[in-house]
Amino acid sequence: MKRRALKAAFPHTIPIMAGFLFLGMTYGIYMGSLGFSFVYPMCMAMIIYAGSMEFVTANLLIGAFNPVQAFLMTLMINARHLFYGLAMLEKYKIPGLKRLYLIFGMSDETFSVNCTAQPPEGVDRSWFMFFVTLLNQSYWVLGATIGGLFGMVLNFNTEGLDFVMTAMFVVIFIENWLKEKDHTSALTGLGISVMCLVLFGADGFIIPAMGCILLALTLLRPRLEKGGEAA
């Protein structure tokens, strides 16, 4: 039963394999360029397993020690996972420990496969979703580890490699911009972030910016919800 589920799951994860190996390796090399052993990206890929947040964590690790800010930033950046969870309440209603791993390993990509892919006839759905989750995380851990090892031994000039994080978020920003019909939220976020950066400086703007964004979106709710229903 498990073998068939694994065989059925693998093809659905191939596109993700390419992306995760590439980004995972870049992340590992990036950690290496910051002076970390490959053990860091490897363990972070296993324990945190949230790609964009791991890049941010790399930056937090070279700054001042502030676990509360790290925790709050994680909540904001990964808040979207709350809604993946809401979408999967029914699908992930399966018995046993598998369920815990399915929820733990629900990255954006795994969510999109498990939410949409239909396992073939006769394949156990819960094992299918389990292997999609496991394979995807394995690609990420593998990429991060290889990248981390490369980062430790390669001796090329990595100056500017940190831009990979900026490039990634710019791409995500554009994707989201093209998808959304109303740009109020994106523009509100941009305006508030820039304003807080100017007011509070590079080291202290994140938490006030997050607070102001939540407040602004709450105040904008009557307007945005009306627009959302019309769209």
Binding site: A79, M106, N157, E159, F163, V164, F169, E175, N176
Partner: protein, 108 residues
């Protein structure tokens, strides 16, 4: 930071991530309706957070001193152009990063 502080920071991030993934399953047992406010925030928050993340990435760029954020501006232009042209996430990221590395290593 010491190694212990590293571990604590990573643990804080891991805890935050797990909270965002497990919370819906703990708070809203399947079948129960999600509050409208939560649904609304879930729909509009991502857009604002992506903006925040782009600003976060650029937080140490100084517009007042040379090179006035020029390498960042050019590389972001390349990322955007590549992405609007091909819509291939990995190509846009790789192209923009290589461009930025060349700019800061060879030009500026």
């Amino acid at each position: 930071m010491t190694v212990v502080q590293h571990i604590m920071t990573i643990a804080a991030v891991a805890l935050g991530t797990m909270l965002t993934r497990f919370l819906p399953f703990l708070v809203f047992p399947a079948g129960k309706k999600t509050p409208r406010y939560v649904q609304y925030i879930g729909k509009v928050l991502p857009g604002a957070v992506f903006s925040l993340l782009v600003v976060y990435c650029l937080k140490n760029v100084s517009l007042l001193s040379a090179p006035h954020g020029l390498p960042e501006a050019i590389a972001i232009g390349v990322v955007a152009a590549l992405h609007l042209w091909k819509r291939q996430m990995l190509l846009s990221i790789a192209g923009g990063t290589v461009c930025y590395m060349l700019l800061v290593q060879l030009v500026f």
